[in-house]
């Protein structure tokens, strides 16, 4: 039991159960929808999930620190517009450069959010509620309420959603989907193996202790917002490629879907726990529902009601079951044990210089 406890944490049980739920949902849809288990379904769901997933990764960084970023929908709209505008005017621009520009613009908005939250000491909800509106207004202003049209962009932009990275038999992995998956893996590794990642957890887990422990809390939160902004920029680019036509209303309301995905994925809205894998699974569940219900005969109008129910279930199971598990995991068996003889020996305070981390 203890070994199990040691290597399988409650969070992972949470993620496993999410996978089970997704599988069950897929099976149910499979009986209801003809030809459901096909590459087309996979492509459809993955294409609709990829944008949310990238945003959820950024959102998770911020939420881990006990903050929130509600402005992502507006950042997506803005970066999609600006990127579209740039590529419309410079058809020869290198694709990679365009992506970098989009991410840079997103990061710029992240800087504003981060400065206000981390250094202006303003609650994140207030800052990002404000910038949600401000960035949208900015989009209307700079675009002069004009749209970006597919026809003005080079073909590769509109074709991008259909480009495969690799094809194995019938299975196709689209480039944009691969980017989303890579983002998840990259940031999951960051959370696990970079000191910065661990500090995100530390700050969300106990902000006061982080301050006392001398962690540069402000800088860490600031960087989380920049990363979230940059990822929203990436999502903005993906948005441009997927929908082609960008109006001033692009990305409205995305923030809610993203927060919902993150919450369903088991990231604690009050910081400290959660993983990128979980956030991705949350996005997948939401995307599966969205794209499958639309194909079902019952009714696409059930989508939001079901989604609301799933969010509630996620919260309730977190509170009622996961907390039990956590208690169980941290129960007495692994308590402090004092070795009374050894204590008599002098404690050496010398220790190895390099500590616990290795050079890469």
């Amino acid at each position: 039991m203890n070994t199990i406890k040691r290597y399988l944490r409650p969070e992972q049980i949470r993620e496993l159960s999410l996978i089970v739920i997704i599988v069950i949902a897929l099976l149910i849809f499979g009986t209801q929808i003809n030809n459901y288990f096909s590459i087309r379904t996979f492509n459809r769901i993955s294409a609709s999930v990829m944008i949310i997933t990238v945003l959820a990764v950024g959102q998770t960084l911020v939420v881990l620190t006990r903050n929130i970023d509600l402005s992502v929908g507006s950042i997506v709209g803005l970066t999609a517009y600006v990127a579209g505008d740039i590529i419309s005017k410079n058809n020869d621009l290198d694709p990679l450069l365009l992506v970098l520009i989009a991410m840079g613009i997103g990061a710029g908005f992240g800087i504003v959010n981060g400065l206000l939250v981390a250094y202006g000491n303003i609650p994140a909800v207030i800052v990002t509620l404000g910038t949600l509106a401000i960035y949208r207004g900015l989009l209307v202003e700079i675009s002069n309420a004009q749209s970006i049209l597919v026809s003005n962009m080079p073909d590769w932009v509109g074709d991008l959603p259909r480009v495969n990275l690799l094809t194995i038999g019938d299975f196709e992995l689209r480039v944009l989907v691969a980017i989303a998956i890579a983002t998840v893996i990259l940031f999951q590794l960051m959370l696990t193996y970079l000191p910065y990642g661990r500090r995100l957890y530390a700050i969300g887990s106990n902000p006061e202790a982080a301050h006392v422990a001398g962690l540069p809390a402000r800088r860490i939160v600031f960087i989380a917002y920049i990363l979230s902004g940059a990822l929203a920029g990436l999502a903005g680019f993906m948005f441009l490629a997927r929908f082609g036509t960008i109006t001033v209303g692009a990305g409205v309301g995305l923030e809610l879907q993203v927060v919902a995905a993150v919450v369903v994925g088991g990231v604690n809205i009050f910081g400290g726990t959660g993983t990128m894998i979980g956030a991705m699974l949350g996005s997948v569940l939401i995307g599966t529902l969205e794209q499958s219900l639309i194909r079902m005969n019952i009714n696409e109008f059930w989508k939001d009601a079901l989604l609301g129910l799933f969010i509630l279930l996620a919260i309730v199971s977190d509170a009622l079951i996961l907390n039990r598990l956590r208690d169980l995991w941290t129960s007495d068996e692994m308590e402090l044990r004092v070795d009374s003889e050894k204590t008599q020996a002098p404690v050496s305070i010398e220790h190895k210089e390099t500590g616990h981390v290795a050079k890469p």
Binding site: I126, V127, G137, A260, F270, F301, I311
Partner: protein
């Protein structure tokens, strides 16, 4: 609350809002000679009356240390439910009654999770925000239902009572009632106390759960009422009615000086904030700024409303310990 320190701080905040209000009004009157016309002044209220009605109860909820993100969805759901019943031939009076009862039930549902299961209201009402909107869509799908009886439509029109619509009358009544409740009744005191320290309240024998339950039921009921008022003002209902209103409502409340962490704020501040936001929007409308620009100006104001006191505090070199530090530095008296 009768606390010297709080009062002095809030007074300055309210003074700040009042100052902004005066400026906005002066600028507006320069923009249009019709600004001071009764029609315009009533319009200022009339067009957002449902939001400001809900802002009153949201004030109590946030002071209590909770939040209700689902208000706009409940408004939409109530209107949709009413329209759906009406569509099916239910008498409108009965449809209103059913809608309000369902509103109470929804409030109980929200409240149970928060008050009795101790779940975070942010998360619970986020689920509500998505879910109740979804329920509205199940009812109305993408139909637009209208052609309500004339008496119902007239509720929402400016000349229902004198020059006022029913919404304005409801707002005025609720504003006074809730101002008194919040600032002068035991319930209001509990709302503040719980917002400051839920545990201390419980240890003092305050029925914390009951208070939270009442607040969420009130929130759902008033939101349902507001949803019906929109239906009557517009004369038709769609499932997406009132979508996104929660942002405006919360903005108004926070701009009114209510702390997002609970425990602080006054109805008067929120009243001033309502006037500022509505007049500002009206003025920008008169100056031909689009809706998004208006919203971003309000958003800027929201951020400034916290940034300015923070800066002032910083300039006075009150160094806080961590973020938990409240605005006013405490000084020992012995």
């Amino acid at each position: 609350m009768l606390q010297n320190r709080d009062w002095s701080w809030l007074k300055t905040w309210e003074a700040f809002l009042a100052l902004i209000l005066v400026i906005v009004i002066i600028v507006n009157s320069q923009l249009s000679e019709f600004f001071f016309g009764t029609d315009n002044l009533i319009n200022v209220f009339q067009l957002s009356i449902e939001k400001v009605i809900v802002a009153i109860i949201m004030t109590l909820i946030i002071i209590n240390g909770e939040i209700d993100l689902s208000v706009a969805s409940m408004m939409g759901f109530a209107a949709s439910l009413f329209a759906w019943l009406f569509e099916r031939g239910v008498a409108p009076e009965l449809a209103i009654l059913i809608t309000m009862i369902v509103g109470v039930v929804i409030g109980l549902f929200n409240g149970v999770w928060v008050a009795y299961f101790g779940l975070p209201s942010l998360a619970v009402t986020l689920a509500g925000l998505v879910g109740y909107r979804g329920a509205a869509r199940i009812l109305l799908e993408d139909r637009s239902v209208g052609d309500f009886p004339a008496w119902f439509d007239s509720l929402g029109q400016p000349d229902w009572l004198g020059p006022f619509s029913a919404g304005i009358v409801v707002f005025a009544i609720l504003f006074v009632i809730f101002a008194v409740i919040l600032h002068y009744s035991a319930f209001g005191r509990y709302v503040y106390i719980i917002g400051n320290s839920r545990d201390a309240a419980r240890y003092a024998g305050v029925r914390v759960r009951q208070v939270k339950m009442i607040l969420f039921v009130l929130s759902a009921t008033i939101s349902s009422l507001a949803g019906l008022l929109i239906a009557s003002r517009l004369g038709s209902v769609r499932a997406n009615q009132a979508e996104g209103f929660e942002l405006d409502i919360i903005t108004i409340v926070l701009l009114g000086g209510v702390s997002i962490f609970g425990g602080r704020g006054t109805i008067i501040g929120v009243g001033l904030s309502i006037l500022v936001v509505l007049n500002l929007r009206n003025g920008m409308g008169l100056a031909n700024y689009g809706g998004n620009i208006q919203t971003s100006v309000v958003g800027t104001l929201l951020i400034l409303s916290v940034l300015i006191p923070n800066m002032a505090q910083y300039l006075q070199r009150f160094e806080g310990f961590g973020r938990k530090q409240k605005l006013s530095p405490s000084s020992s008296s012995d």
